[in-house]
Symmetry: C2
Subunit: 223 residues, 2 copies
DNA sequence: TAGCTAACGTACTAGTTCGTACATTAGACA
DNA sequence: TGTCTAATGTACGAACTAGTACGTTAGCTA
């Protein structure tokens, strides 16, 4: 999400015109602005003002506000998918692997509140931008493949007693991680508890893992 | 959320001027419009147009767009709190009671997608309207009290092995119910699965209950 | 039934906001 | 070193949008 501020690598004197840098700078600022204010709340002029370039360039490179937002989304999703690719849990036993996966998901959500906000905003708009994006249509999810393999192994070994679909488990894990960040403000205002309080971080991280493992290893759930 | 369209109770001829009805009508339409487009995306003119009255009246009764949104939120939360008051699970054993509570929460989220959207929107705005509202500050949560009592009983009887805080359990249940509705569109677009597909409703409802019960009755989780 | 006021409608304005027409120049390359 | 184009800046316009000034009237009450 932050490709920002390459301070002119040595030997490479900062050029006045640099298409790639200008585009990256616009995307960085746009990400912040859209995440801050929502699609309609975001101001193209404001984005331009916080850039070293002008509004003209936003239209030159991205075409318009709508496409800019789509590109921001594309980049945000690409970042998270790349992080998922790093996932290295196959050497762990199924229980540890799932817990680790949950923790990595937990950490990623916490570390990218802007991404969470963008996704919330995109949902208000019924995912129209994702639908319109070719890139996002076929981006896939490495995490899902990992979950699938772990679940299979866990079931074969008899460690997991619950027969759950990978997508559903992903939804279960994501929902907790996402909600904790996305609904932080209303939840805090209504129940007087900050779900993202650093002092409670380990607590909630453990709670998530416990919950998922308990579900997967429950002795004969209802079915 | 829908006080709408009282079609002139018999004997009570529809008056041309009716303050209460006008206000309710504005609130109904405003709820839809804000939920549809977000705070900044919503148009005061559009709200007025879909009402039998005019924009003038919105300002007459509510003061402005900001206060109108706050009032919409207040009413939406009041509705959900009233639903929680109906909650009648104390006669059930702790396991059944928690499962029932989870199911009621699940049902309520499904039945009020507009409410979910409003809450998402309010979170984008960092709960500023809730913070500014006296009414919402001290609205409380009947559900929390219920959870507290069930948990206590469950622990005393030895049925629940996990020592969890009522607010945290509420967060756990809510996160799943909320995410399923709030992130329906992005999740569907990315994973090709509609979390709110009626055919899957019972499946997810059971899954939530299983998860919560598994967590509460797990044999000595990590602690 | 006369008077009064809460309830209402119309028409307008000031300010904002996305988008673009037009002009300019850095710097790659021949 | 001259040329050409991608990259850039300035200034402006058309459309929208929250909010209001001013005038009107339904219907309650005395």
């Amino acid at each position: 999400m932050t490709s920002v501020e390459e301070p002119a690598r040595p030997g490479e004197r900062e050029r006045v015109r640099d298409a790639a840098r200008t585009q990256a700078e616009i995307l960085d600022v746009a990400t912040q602005e859209f995440a801050r204010a929502g699609y309609d709340g975001a101001r193209v002029d404001e984005i331009a003002a916080r850039t070293r370039t002008t509004k003209r360039m936003i239209y030159y490179y991205f075409g318009g506000k709508e496409q800019l937002f789509t590109t921001v989304l594309e980049r945000a999703y690409t970042v998270i998918r790349e992080a998922e690719q790093e996932l290295d849990v196959e050497h762990l036993d199924p229980v540890a692997a799932i817990r680790r996966l949950a923790e990595v998901t937990f950490d990623h959500h916490e570390q990218h509140p802007d991404f969470i906000r963008l996704v919330s905003i995109e949902n208000i708009h019924e995912a129209h931008h994702i639908a319109a994006s070719e890139k996002l249509g076929r981006i896939g999810s490495p995490a899902l493949d990992v979950i699938r393999r772990i679940l299979e192994e866990g079931r074969r070994s008899g460690l997991f007693t619950t027969d759950v679909d990978a997508v559903d488990l992903h939804a279960m894990i994501s929902s907790f991680c996402f909600f904790r960040v996305s609904n932080r403000h209303t939840f805090g205002a209504l129940f007087g508890r900050d779900l993202v309080d650093p002092a409670q971080r380990a607590h909630y991280r453990t709670m998530l893992g416990d919950m998922v493992i308990a579900y997967l290893t429950a002795e004969r759930a209802s079915d």
